[in-house]
Structure formats: C-alpha cells, structure tokens
Amino acid sequence: MTNFHPDLDLITEYTAGSLPLTQSACVSLHISHCRRCQGIAGQLSDLGASLFEALEPAPVGDAQLNAVLARLDEEVPLSYARTSKDTSNTPAILQRLMRGDFSDLSWKNIGSTLRISYLQAGDPQHELAIYHFNAGGRIPEHTHRGSEMTLILQGGFSDAHGSYHKGDFLVRRQGDVHAPTALQSEDCICLVVLDAPLKFIDWKFRWMNPFLKLRTV
C-alpha cells in the first residue's frame, strides 16, 4: 500500500490522455500498484466514455465501413497480445525501454552515492531516467528549475518532508529544495521524469549546474 499519490489534476490529465508520455509512464506505474488510484482512474475513464457517448455524431459513409470490413482478415499485430500484468520484477513499461534489467543499464556516476541511467523514451520535452542511490546515501541538496516526478521502484528514501517507499509517487515543483537520503536498509531505485534540469545548492556540486542539460533522446 502506498501513501503518496498523484493528485486529482494529474490523474484527470492522465485519463484524458493529455499528459506527456514520460509522465504518463510514471503515473501508470504508480496506478498499477495502487487500488485507490485505480478506483479513481476507472471513474474518470467512465466520465470520458460518457462524454464520448454524448458527442454529436459526425456522419461516416458506407465507404468507410466497407474499407474496414475489407481489412478484418488482416493479421492481428503481435503487440496486442502484450499483457499488462508484470511477469518479472521489472515492470512491463520499463522492459520496453531497457534491454535486460537494471544491472545491464549504462550508468553515469554523480558523486559516490548516486548513479543515473537515461532511458530513450522519445519524449522531446522530458527526461526519463532511473536513479540508483546506495543504501544510506545522501543526494546533495538541490532545487528544481521545473517539475520533477518520482516513482520509487525499489527501497525508499526520506527528506525533510517525509519518508517514501516502493510505489510512492512524488512531485517536486519549481523552487522546492530537498536533499533526499536513501533508507539504510537497501539501495533505492527510482524512476524520475524532469522537465528542466536540477540545480545543486550544495557548494561541492554547484560547479555542475551550468553543465546540467535535459537528456530527452
């Protein structure tokens, strides 16, 4: 059971399909583990369906119907057989973005406690990355130039605002300052979506600020 959830505004945009791809991925991973959010996402999808059914129909001719009827014998794309159930420890969405598992990713070390692996999600406005912090490791104090969405995939961390565990979903907004510390018991792995680079406040890391760029490949 998770304690930190996306807010109603985010789940509304998520169910309406207007959330950017990487943010949708992050929200969807939370929802797959959270009955509370599944419930509201279901109600909001029903709302979308009610609005859809109430639309003023736009005429569609028989030519269109015949064109579809003529295609019904086409081979069904293999991807339709994909299941949404997780069969391994790595969630299905991440399997599609990674070759192998977390240990096969290529990592960039940031200091001695944090390493980051950037995923190629193809969202031009957002960076999607996996952060790995060593157990007990502290991330230097930093602030946000934009928004940061975090989903905890393994372990947990704490900061001045609280303590977060697997499945918890957090949003930090522009100007929020924090210095998260991974729980002592195990390494912490998070999925992080950024729409602007971080900015370190900690003097030892400030030199990096001009070099921090979004990696949105």
Binding site: T12, L69, Q120
Partner: protein, 202 residues
C-alpha cells in the same frame, strides 16, 4: 464468496433506455465479435460508434478530415481485433471502446509530431478492469450516476470537461485557449468532479 448479489440484482440486469435500446447491446456486440467473429454485430457497432469516433477525432479541430477518417478506420479495426479480450463482466463496452479511441488518437498525435518512441499509449494506460465482483457493481453504479448527473453541470464546467476529455487538452492548454488562469481551470474541473461524485475512496 459473493454475498452481495441479491442486493444488487436489480442493478446488474440490463436496463432499458427511453429509446427502447438495451444499454448492454454494445457489450453483446463486442462479445459476439470476440467469440464468433460476427460481422453483422460489427456492422451494428460500427454504425453506432464510428460517427462518435469521427466526432471525437475532430474535437478541438487539430486533425484534418483525412486523419480523422484514418483514425476511425484504425480504431474500428482495433475494436475487431481486440474484442476477444473484452470481458463484459469486468468492463463497460463504452469505456472499453472509448479507451481504444483515446489511446489511438494520442498515438496519432505523437506520430504526426514525429515522436520516435518505443511506447504506445496502450503501454502507459493500464487496465480499467476490476478483478472483484463488488468493484464491478460499484463501478456500474458510478457510471449510471455520472450519466445521470452530467447534464446538470453548469456550462462553464461542462465546457472545460469537454476540452479536457474530448479535445484532449492539458489543463494549461485549456487555460491558454480560454485566457483564464490555470487555477480556474483546475478548480472548475474539480468542482465538476465533485458534482459527479467522482472522488478518491480511502
């Protein structure tokens, strides 16, 4: 063990709309398509839903008429191909079909913007099916309530919901388009959801 059946029996039976049409006609069609590849059922479904899909595709007028026609064909073909996975006991036909239309439109927007991504909207949209019988009944009551209350929303709230859900615009895009503060968009959406009694259940 399901012990709530009796209590909810009257609500699980198919209901009759003023038009005389049974509201679960479309689940029956989907089931016939999924189990028997029934083309007549598909044709009925097409005649009802394709015009709604076209209206949905044209909402917000960002897609050309050609793109809208392509989308209608693509969605209807997907409905045919995926119908085998439709479970009338777990999902409402309208929500199931709307979800395919919504995801296909999102993917089309991304293709038109030349996104190069290994993820499809389906990958990140999860399943709307409930596993437990109680939740299924609960959701059905929720749907009936939403349908009944939706026409009572004040215009400004109905307009915003249409932009968010039918036009697929983010809250900040809606704010920009209507030239109102983002906070106003969010509060109108939240007020509308309150009126429809859509809320977190702890």
């Amino acid at each position: 063990m399901l012990t709530v059946t009796d209590k909810f029996d009257d609500e699980t039976d198919s209901q009759v709309e003023p038009s005389g049409k049974r509201t679960d006609e479309w689940s029956e069609c989907l089931t016939l398509i999924g189990k028997h590849e029934d083309r007549a059922a598909f044709t009925r479904l097409f005649r009802h839903f394709a015009p709604l899909m076209k209206a949905f595709a044209l909402s917000g007028s960002t897609l050309s008429a050609n793109n809208a026609d392509e989308l209608v064909q693509e969605v209807m073909l997907k409905v045919w191909q995926k119908a085998g996975a439709f479970n009338a006991e777990k999902a409402a036909a309208s929500t199931w079909i709307y979800t395919i239309a919504r995801n296909s439109r999102t993917d089309l927007f991304r293709r038109l913007q030349k996104f190069d991504t290994p993820l499809s909207a389906d990958d990140v949209s999860g399943s709307q099916e409930s596993e437990e019988a109680f939740m299924v009944l609960h959701q059905k009551r929720g749907r009936d309530r939403i349908r009944a209350l939706i026409n009572e929303l004040p215009n400004d709230q109905a307009q915003i919901l249409a932009k968010v859900y039918m036009e697929g615009k983010s809250h900040s895009e809606v704010a920009g388009e209507l030239d109102i503060p983002l906070g106003t968009v969010k509060s109108r959406v939240r007020l509308a959801l309150q009126k429809l009694q859509i809320r977190f259940e702890d």
